[in-house]
Subunit: 329 residues, 6 copies
């Protein structure tokens, strides 16, 4: 798969012999009653509509959303939109050595490095109750999801591994605030930082694109993690009731205001720090990604971004700070 | 205790030989260093400050907030506020046959009648999972609290038994909406109505007055009941995951908007009904109580009520509707 | 007309021999200067654009918006939108036995049943002034409109007979609240409920679709009904001034908040009940209709609804509650 | 009465032999059961509490709020507040040649001058329907009130004659806008300007102070004037329906936004001008009065004014602009 | 150029021999690799896309946005949008006697008349410091821009000369308010009125259309003019510090509220007048232009205008007020 | 002065021989016409009212607000408020070796240490234009004020040296964000962080308490620093125009939203980071100070804090994180 061209770089008439992620599938009929296959396919750079006009009967009996497929076809255009015309299609097999996650955008930080950074930080917790609780919550299944889940659908850290990258950034900011303010309960704050968005592993579906699950829509990630803490701490011997309530308060209040969907506002020193550390990390990443995604436009400003309520300036170079001189602008 | 005069009817210089609820206690010193006892005492009509200047040493070793006490004293006045001067004080004993709840405002509806109405409605649930869940949650301890807890600190149904009265009213409204709209899932909606505010038994302290607990401030009653449903449904054999999520959604969204502290907005037909039935019951009771509490003022309008953002009209008579004729105004 | 196929079920190339409601008509020219007729036609299921390329001269001299027409034609497609190509067209005559209202969506409740329910409830009013006032306002012309007017353009009860259905639902809710709270002035509240939205008979145009009239845009239905009450009560002997003001207050404040276009906020017990009963009825109907309109989509959730600020869950079956078992989800 | 000292200039122990306006009266009892008279008295500079301890029996049988009284007494102090101790009191008689309006703050502009300016402007209206309507509305009784009513309780033009002064200022601004923009319908705009706040003659009570009437609270001045226009235009032969609706639209929308209690927002060119002309006049007067009332404080800034959401700068001199030089600051 | 047909009146297939303003230019490639020229051209009535398929090499070496060009071509249509197909193109020369400003919408008031009105008003200022400051700021370069700059991109006075027209209107309103209220510091207020929006000469680009400059987006016109006053007053001998601060306060606060981008709210009498005079002038012009732009639609109402949050009524005639009779509606 | 008792620890009847800061002074008269001195005096722990009844004539001829005085007197009580009765008073002299700043609350961090940290960070700037600009702005006079000015009147870092402490904290957070995100222009961001609140040296008066200056109220600190950057960068050879605008944008937008008084919202990556770093530092300090100030109350919760819109939890110990164990709660 290494050498297939990225979807967003293909031109009309280009041939495809590609592995792609199947993110939508439905059988439709033309007005004259002929059945055809209408698919949504993606790699980590783009999502494309695809049509297959014949010989798909055996394929559809096994196909399901979230699978990787291999196709032969050509890039066409319909209504000014690129569209793939498929000649042949099959499900990928284990021999193909591809996995769905390869076809979704992902964090630039190596996952292994991030995992180690997280484990190491958990190990430094001195409060045994909190450490034990986090280790219980990070059972194998949850941890597997936690390493992959994006921090959101579209705005910030919206890529595989995004939540982990985001969390590690918040942990760094919180540790800095603890260095400056010795009054802060460091173990409690860091535990809250690590767990605050963990409910997203159940709130989001990220196998074949990023979307909300039914449970995610009905409960939201904030209540999901609150429930998890409640249940897991019950299983730990003599977990202090007050400590549990303070930790749950951190996750409940981390969006800072009722209108941002936190059911309580921050009422502790740790809670107010976690909220603002989260904001700092999220907004920095969101604005950076928005700027990067329009760096090729040749303009000085991005389009209007509803969530930022403005357009953003695109600097000529996003230079490493070491190289930065008067030439920036 | 039957024949003691209500606190709000006593005049300065009146003698007291009263049972009262101890809702605050602290030892203070005069500027000259003399210790005295500063108390807060209440019956169901009023709260009064009290001072005791001597002979309280043996009393304070056993006294604690939430106890009933018997006092001898006289009503005094200080800074234009009534104040009780205590000569003798003792804790009530079981022989006195008084209980703290006697000294708090309470619902006009007989408790027994309300209990029966609730039990009867639970029995009519046809969904066995929901019925079983509610019965588990209403274990003896919880049910005892549920029957007493007020629906709030001050605004609506703010009296002992208030939550139960409020809940039964919502259940009636919801049943009417189900009669009109057969598409509504009646068992789900009624279960949500019964449970929606149950978290208040842990959010509020109502032994010696009405106030928030630490847990109530940190988590709020909405998350408390969500956690309870999560944990209790786990203990029921094959409780459907979707049914659980929909029920939790009802309690999470019952305040209708994020800014009213619901972490999710109503997303089901049942949820939108529950929200508005709750509003209808709560506001009707709040406005009625506000009007009644100023009926003796001789004015046509109440003071300005911040929560209503207006003052309210006080009708000349609050007649039974049967008696209502042109004479109302 | 009984057996013509609903517009929303027709496919491209289907022939039409249909009665339809003319909801828009204009003569246009092609770039080469040829005149053609551009029409908007509707039945109770859909609205369609239509073109007629010749022989329409005699038709247009009599045609006007709000008339029923009979057409021969075929369903075509233009820019991915269905479009009717008309071969012949004529105005319906009295012999055709069709009326414009047949081509607009309408309430599921039989109109006769609703009329009787309303009359019966008015008869139960014991306050003679209020009963007389309502009867004056419901003169033949107004009552004819009242039975047909929708409760709104698009959101809730947006169909012929919608206001009457909505009003009867509110009356039921208000009567329940009066049963629970004897302090409420039942006759006043029920009168307010019956009249609260009556101004919509002048605010809305509902002959050939649902839209606002000039008067509706300039005054709004709230002031329109206030003016009607003011004028009609003047014609009743010794109608109490205070009663009139309280009734007008009910209609003025029934939208509950200034930002919802009520010029005063609810200041009486009856006013706060009417506001919340209206909300309960309106939102329940709006959410139900939104869900039903997308039940065929095969999805679990409706599209995002701006007025609800969310998408809504679509249950698998909208079963009668009697049939409801664990199978709901 | 000419030479009595203004209430706000009296010091403790000063003797009073004053005519004052009775703005509140109630009989109270001391704790020992002795009855006394508790009054509120005012002149145009201040409001004062007063007590009379004996010999008031004959007086109270005739006294009522809104009467002028003559008192003998002395200025006392209670709880740091000035309080009048009355020795003798009687109602003013026609011989005393005083009227209640003398004891309320009033406009600096001579009333006669303002009346003439208004009449003259009405006479210039060229649209006979509008001129006739305004003359009908300004019958003797209404005009008498219109000349006196304040434009509000406390914020702007809150003095006798304030509405008339405010209206004339708006008329001048509107005439200027018509001079600049010939597209504006001048007669309609000026008629709207003259009538826009007339409902305040029924909304406010201004005989013995400034307060809202019951009708004012239940309906508001906007709906009151809309009702008046509706009823009076009906009595004019062939008053155009559209003209009536546009005029009512002007008065309904003149507060500019729903949240400011207008039931419709401005939808015509005349309406948007009237709204902003009203704002310009009202805010200028409100800020000017707020600054003047604190000019004696010796400070550069007024106290914080909630309605302005700021404190205001107090210039050293409020010079006529002709005299203005660099010395202003 | 006098006799070329306005762009918005041209039909498909019409020939063009037109001078037009070049407001956008880019070289693109077809899918088969052929280069073509993609232009944006405008006159004072419309903006049109244009394509040139050959022989544009020599042209593009000199062309730049903001130039006037002469073209030969024909009006085509693409995707239902008008598009110009260019056969020949050249830059305009001085002999052509055309200037970019001829191709942008412009004020109806003669520029010379407006210049004189402004100069005359500046001459009447009696405060020498203020007069000197304004004259410094209105150096030749700034004054040239000031006479042309629109008051905004799209909402009010959005045409060449718009700021000057808007400013003169505000000056008239402010002078009227000074006539009525002698307490107002007239020279200060009029100076603030003249300068308040001057920052727009740097905030907006208006050579080839109306758009924001980078500086405009980063600083905004309010801070730009504040900086100018700060710098220029420093160069005037003994310019009073307080006078400077008060003048800067006027320009900073003239948008009235923080959420409208004023960094301080109005805190002086002059500031509150300037804010409301600005509103009155801006909204009147905006609503008038919106109505005029849709007068040809044949409808009674404009489309929904997001900035007005409503649609607006379109009167049958926008008659001069002298002609106005009952016939208006 | 070392050994005088803190004002907030004095009891009624305690003798004072104290140096205190004079923060208010006015001569008043009793009702009997006797003049007395009414003063406001403070040390770093409290502010107290003081009265002097005789022998103050020579003192007042030299006294002015902001001076240190020495008094002999006694602590009295009036209306339940502590009040100092002064027997003798004199101005402090240079021999007394006291300065006004000794009587205001101040940062816990040693000023010298903070100065060095700031200088060191400025030295590390690699962009010579920015370094030169900051050095110009930090001339001796400005730097002297910068080291002392509080970051606000009452909410966060509201003590002498507060702005410097706050700035250094933001710089640390910004440097961390630059370490994580190499795309950020570090020199620009750090320069913006250092300068962002510098306008407070002119906005606030902090000689004798913390209050706003006239200039501060009229312009605000944001525009003040923007003006300073504009003027000082003009004096630097070839300071890049774009760099200046970007730096000014940082200071203008650092409050993040228009309604928080920023005239533009953050539109660059650096701007969004600075805004959230400022929030994180400010809120952490504000909440910490609010909690510490009520640690002695014996309660679990602070009073309701309007700016936090909640009360805050007070932990039993504010332990260093190293010591933190399960014992926290």
């Amino acid at each position: 798969m290494n050498d297939q061209k990225d979807l967003n770089l293909l031109s009309v008439k280009d041939k495809l012999e590609h592995f792609l992620l199947l993110s939508g599938i439905v059988v439709k009929s033309t007005k004259t009653g002929k059945e055809y296959l209408d698919l949504e396919l993606r790699d980590h750079t783009a999502v494309r509509n695809a049509k297959m006009w014949a010989n798909f009967e055996s394929f559809i009996s096994n196909a399901k959303v979230g699978s990787v497929v291999k196709i032969l076809g050509v890039l066409d255009e319909f209504n000014n939109q690129p569209q793939i015309k498929i000649d042949r299609i099959r499900l990928a097999t284990s021999d193909d050595n591809v996995s769905p996650a390869d076809f979704l955008p992902k964090s630039n930080r190596p996952r292994k490095e991030m995992e180690l950074e997280l484990s190491s930080r958990i190990n430094q917790l001195s409060n045994e109750h909190l450490k034990q609780l986090i280790e219980r919550i990070f059972n194998e299944e949850n941890f597997e999801k936690y390493k992959q889940v994006p921090a959101g659908k579209a705005w910030h850290h919206a890529y595989i591994g995004g939540l982990l990258e985001h969390t590690l950034e918040i942990v760094k900011i919180c540790d800095l605030m603890c260095d400056i303010h010795p009054e802060v309960n460091r173990d409690l704050l860091i535990s809250g930082a690590i767990l605050h968005d963990l409910g997203k592993i159940e709130e989001l579906e990220f196998e074949s694109g990023f979307d909300y699950t039914d449970k995610g829509k009905l409960l939201g990630h904030i209540v999901i993690i609150a429930n998890i803490i409640e249940k897991e701490s019950d299983k730990i011997d003599r977990f202090p009731e007050e400590l549990k309530n303070h930790l749950i308060h951190l996750v409940l209040s981390h969006q800072g205001k009722l209108e941002y969907a936190s059911p309580v506002t921050p009422k502790t020193l740790e809670a107010i720090i976690l909220y603002h550390a989260d904001e700092l990390s999220a907004k920095t990443n969101a604005y950076k990604c928005a700027i990067i995604s329009e760096m090729g436009s040749g303009k000085n400003w991005t389009r209007y971004l509803p969530l930022a309520e403005t357009s953003l300036f695109i600097p000529k170079i996003f230079a490493k700070s070491d190289d930065f001189k008067d030439t920036l602008f």
